[in-house]
Chain length 331, copies 2
């Protein structure tokens, strides 16, 4: 099959490599000519996926018109840039099937990524799928056994995505809950910042486990209000991704939290990171989505206060712990 991949970060590159291993033709598009040159010269994505060999069969291009040749297009452009990239580079997406691998909620519009594609590229729901789960790119490319979910409202497309990507060490489950996969994949980054703060403040494993548990409840509450299936949040794209993001040394969002807990200011942290920590934007979007849907999101609210209202992390965490203890399923 002819496939196109948008975005040559770690995840876009990792997904390209899986498609290639499964015998598909891959055109990896990036707007960044230095990344293109680097990969062509060294057959390695030194910035985002160091140490992984990229075979010469992987075509890398800055020419977006080549995406027109692909039957299926995988998106790995970060959330806040998708709309601009589609528009500015005139990505030819008409009548194509889109598989999204990015996570987040657009600022201001509060749109999920599916909604951005529906709106900007005339993609229809039966041509849209999302692939999500606990899948750090570094580990996927090193063949660490990984399980993900492919979700589409179309009853064939999820299975098609499963077939495209399944490898001995990369298992793909199917689902029809696009909203659930998108909300779980996005909001876990907010909870990961909170988990990192607990690491930075050295509050301990008991505290972090309770935070993750209540974080999942918070994500589920918002997701269900938007139309997701609650079971999705107990699965790979919900709980699974949440666990890996809150626990892993690789997680950028957890790292942001850890630095906050150690006393660094949000601006300092953002200025020193070479990759986007999507959770910072998602905190703002989730906070506003909660207000829009009248869903209480106590953890998100405290992270918002830390990031945007200059509340000290220890005070914010203490606000969380001092909510009155209720029946377990009333919070």
């Amino acid at each position: 099959m002819k496939t196109g991949v948008l975005g040559a970060g770690g995840w876009g590159t990792a997904l390209s490599l899986i498609l290639l291993e499964n015998g598909h033709e891959v055109i990896l598009w990036t707007h960044d000519s230095s990344t293109k040159k680097e990969i062509e010269k060294y057959r390695e994505n030194k910035t985002y996926l160091p140490g992984i060999r990229i075979p010469s069969e992987l075509n890398i291009t800055n020419d977006s018109s080549l995406i027109g040749e692909a039957e299926i297009v995988v998106n790995a452009v970060p959330t806040q840039f998708i709309r601009g990239v589609i528009h500015d580079f005139k990505i030819p997406l008409e009548n194509k099937q889109i598989i999204n691998g990015s996570k987040g909620i657009e600022r201001n519009s509060l749109k999920r990524i599916s909604e951005i594609f529906y709106e900007c590229a005339n993609v229809t729901a039966d041509n849209y799928a999302v692939i999500s789960g606990p899948s750090h790119a570094e580990e996927v490319t090193r063949k660490s056994p990984t399980n993900v979910v492919a979700a589409s409202e179309d009853i064939f497309l999820d299975k098609q995505v499963q077939k495209l990507f399944t490898r001995p060490e990369f298992r793909v489950y199917t689902s029809n809950d696009v909203v659930g996969a998108e909300i779980g994949g996005s909001l876990k980054n907010v909870i990961a910042i909170a988990a990192g703060i607990i690491d930075g403040l050295e509050l301990g494993d008991n505290t972090k486990a309770a935070l993750i548990t209540r974080g999942l409840a918070e994500i589920s509450r918002l997701g269900i209000a938007i139309g997701a299936n609650n079971l999705t949040f107990a699965g790979l794209s919900g709980l699974g991704d949440l666990i890996v993001t809150c626990g892993s040394k690789h997680s950028r969002n957890r790292k942001v939290g850890e630095l906050l807990g150690q006393g660094k200011k949000p601006d300092e942290i953002i200025n020193t990171m070479k990759m986007v920590a999507e959770g910072i934007h998602t905190t703002e979007s989730a906070f506003n989505l909660g207000k829009k849907h009248a869903v209480e999101l106590p953890i998100t609210e405290q992270i918002y206060n830390i990031l945007f209202n200059d509340i000290p992390p220890r005070e914010a965490m203490s606000n969380l712990m001092n909510r009155s203890a209720k029946r377990e399923w009333w919070w």
Copy 2:
């Protein structure tokens, strides 16, 4: 209030200290006269809770008849010894309220701890509560913020337990799902062995997150078959405790798995541990409970094979990964 605590391990001692801080009288009973002497001499439980000062107000005894004076009795005797201890030491439990803090399922009988107390001590369901959640004793005594659930079928007892134990750093939620709290607290130790094996084999964070996710699904399936509320498994006594046990350096059960993954034999591991790793017994009980209730428990089955049928951990984990990929909620 006059309270008695059975068992002077780490958790029994930690719960005694919380009761004491809340102004209750505490008699801590242990069958072990050397532990009694040690605590009385050094005011420290050097074996199970090193470094924590035990105030002189905590009465420690080997005389089980003193438990007769307590209005409420907290159990922290390990699961496999409860029946023997009640019988051999003639613990006077008639008409008392029991709060259980131990986790596990009795071998052979396959009874949950509530059922052991109902059977051996004439305790009734309205006099029984369980306290459970992500609560490593070491961290609790060091005031790491901790959240647990107190569950009782009695509509007042859960709130009474909440009041007994609530401290600024120890929040107690209430619940009426005793079966759910017991099954979650027990089976997490089986999944923790599996998580440890992944650590020992160095399979990575993606793999471990997927294992924990599917482990929770497996626990929920068995619990629901026995009569638990599925929401309980998404809470502190389910997911919360599972996360801490699978992730924490303190967890004995995870450690057993890690050693198995590194190539140690089950017998070697058991012989060198000074504390019981309850998960080994629970694996056997859960395996048999699954058969009894006709519930598929693929992870438990593989851990059982490793522990009792000498199957190499790498082969067992590979059996798990090679199950055919299905719709997410069909496994």
